[in-house]
Amino acid sequence: MFGEAFFGLSWLDAIIRTVIIVLLMTVVVVYLTYGERKVIARFQMRLGPTRTGPAGLLQGVADALKLLVKEDVRPRNADRWVFEFAPYLTFIPVFLVLIALPFARDWGVRNLALGMFFVFAVLGLNIVGVLMAGLGSGNKYALLGGVRAAAQMISYEIPLVVALLAVAMVAGTLDLNAIVGMQDERPFVLVQPLAFVIFFMAVLSELHRAPFDIPVAESEIVGGYFVEYSGIRWSMFQLAEYAALWAFSIFGAAIFLGGWQFPFGLEWGWGWQLALTFIKSLLMITLVFWVRATLPRLRMDQLMSFCWKVLIEVSFALLLVNGLFLYYDWPEALLAAANWAGAIALLSAIYLRAARKPATKNLVGTYKHAETPSGEAATP
């Protein structure tokens, strides 16, 4: 049904598909904000929005309307054009990513032969808008946020790309539709779990999501690069953020979770394929929300050293291992086993590192008058 152009006109077809995607994205973003508030509220023993419409379902609409009518404030010492164009430059790359994503078999806006490459290339542009917002706002918090975002996003693009290249090696193609089509028997997450782990961490960082939400750190620089924005321009940043979350989750679902493919190669029509893409991407999104509700924030230098000292090394090792397996044509089960071992080792190393702290029950000391444990001269 969607394989050929609408009305046989390629330009009209492109316009129609783009309009559909933009409308879909707007609705999805409105409900993602609602979903995030609801999901995190449950993690925090709260209810979340309940007042606007049934179960608060119209909250996103109300928020959007409020933002539309709000005053658009521009600080006096802001650089006018840089300030005003920054939101659009953050938003446009995210929107461009959606062009290449496969929503159902043979259906996306465009089915690109180098889809994965296109996604990387376009997402790299995102940083321009963020930096512009940081520099143009005339605000020190915004400046810090913008610079932090630049450092972070450039660093984390490396493990992201390398981890996905490892998957592309196994798949043998960069065409997203072909990659999804290959996963009719097993999703790639079972074969390349380590790549998935690295991809997920890097995506959290690219999206400025906890525990890597350093550029927008609310308790330090109160929102970071968009601190001076209000009304419609602020909502562009929000739109970009959630659209990027959605785009990345569909991207991840396509590469790792089998996208529109049913498990075990079942084919139930394009409606089901579309639903499946959405369900799988929602799984990814829920995981992101879960992480946000649970984890505190890393510090900038810790974030960078985690990227440069851990993630990049691991991702290159993954690339090497995959290369060896493919070159010598060793069985896929063995490749999967090696990957699982790597993924479990990485995650448990992170988890077990927390054990170096003292246990709470060991903290209890008994009172001895005027005695210092280190033997320092001290008389309280």
Partner: protein
């Protein structure tokens, strides 16, 4: 840890860099009230910090000198407003000691019980808010808030008010405990222990949190004493100094509890000591419930207007933030000639510059959070 200007200049090489001042507060999510600090940062590195206080000054001492001994109680509640009962307890006990008033034993036990409930309440506020400082998206906050609500409900059942009960009287307490208090209190204690375990698991069992806090700005016992640290800040350095043991007041000598101490006085220890202290407070409350004697709760034959002839005293108590000392000087009449508060938050805060300089901007927020200041007490 600290990096001094010469080293920074060397690191920057030929580049000419300019330090930037970042204003944090008085309206800022991380300042826990109306505290302001101006940070001079070199990139992410804090090279200077200038704290500004006084936004919440209400003239407690002068007000107390112009009011009846009993009238002043309500203002003392509002110093450390997270643990109002500890503050009014300190003031009331100081006045009683100065006037030589005997308090019934039941009232003493009720007071200790209520003060320890307040201490847990205040510490929970810290545990939750500190999680938010480190960057957890409010989850630690809502975890802590659940228990705080239960404690506040309990305090309301006893005293009729939640934050500023003015429940104590010179000579005892206003009224006896309600009928089902014991079972309610034991239920709340169970809930508190559960909440502590939840918070312990959520934060100290978390690698990101441990990475952020462990080893950050360690303080030696000598330094802590030189800076005038008291309370958990001092105990985190490994020095078991607690006024409840060192200069016991009320019925604390009859109660069995331990003093949690840290190992190196870093941010993690400060957090951990407060966490462990809540368990000890719960123990104290249980013992009070077991040992609660029968009898009256207010001393008989109290004068209608309390007049104290001559005398002065300094009465130190273990407040939630440290040594909460009340100095009173009487020269006859119904009002103190001089009233003075030794507020622990103020003394702990005075070391802020020493602790913050040389750390990163994100850590400055965490260090400020770990001091656990209450601006009502800092500014009096």
């Amino acid at each position: 840890m600290a990096i001094w200007p010469e080293e920074r200049a060397a690191a920057a090489g030929a580049l000419d860099t300019v330090d930037m001042t970042v204003n944090v507060g008085p309206q800022h999510p991380a300042t826990h009230g109306v505290f302001r600090m101006v940070l001079t940062v070199d990139g992410e590195l804090v090279v200077d910090c200038e704290p500004y206080i006084g936004y919440l000054h209400r003239g407690l001492e002068k007000l107390s000198e112009n009011a009846d001994y009993r009238q002043a109680m309500g203002w003392w509640d509002r110093t450390d407003y997270l643990a109002g009962l500890c503050c009014e307890g300190a003031y009331v006990m100081a006045v009683e000691k100065l006037a030589g008033i005997e308090v019934p034993e039941r009232a003493e036990y009720i007071r200790v019980l209520m003060m320890e409930l307040s201490r847990i309440n205040s510490h929970f506020m810290f545990l939750g808010a500190f999680g938010a400082d480190v960057g957890s998206f409010g989850t630690s906050f809502t975890y802590a808030w659940r228990e705080r609500e239960r404690i506040y409900d309990l305090i309301e059942e006893v005293a009729g008010d939640r934050m500023f009960p003015t429940y104590f009287r010179i000579g005892g307490v206003t009224m006896d405990l309600p009928e089902n208090f014991e079972s309610r209190c034991r239920w709340v204690l169970g809930s508190i222990r559960q909440g502590l375990e939840d918070l312990d698991g959520l934060l100290t069992g978390n690698e990101v949190f441990v990475e952020r806090c462990l080893g950050l700005t360690p303080v030696t016992p000598g330094q802590a004493i030189a800076w005038g640290f008291t309370g958990p800040m001092l105990r985190a350095t490994g020095l078991p100094w607690d006024i409840r043991k060192a200069e016991p007041y009320s019925v604390y000598p009859q109660l069995d509890f331990e003093i949690p101490v840290g190992r190196q006085g870093d941010v993690f220890d400060r957090f951990h000591v407060r966490l462990a202290e809540c368990y000890q407070s719960a123990r104290i409350i249980e013992q009070c419930l077991d040992a609660l004697p029968a009898g009256r709760v207010l001393a008989p034959k109290l004068p209608k207007t309390l007049r104290i002839n001559e005398g002065e005293l300094y009465f130190p108590t273990e407040g939630t933030k440290g040594e909460y000392g009340v100095y009173l000087m009487a020269r006859g009449g119904a009002q103190p000639y001089r009233a003075k508060l030794r507020s622990p938050s103020f003394c702990n805060l005075s070391a802020l510059r020493e602790l913050v300089v040389g750390s990163y901007l994100a850590d400055a927020i965490v260090i400020l959070g770990s001091l656990d200041i209450v601006l009502g007490e800092v500014d009096k």
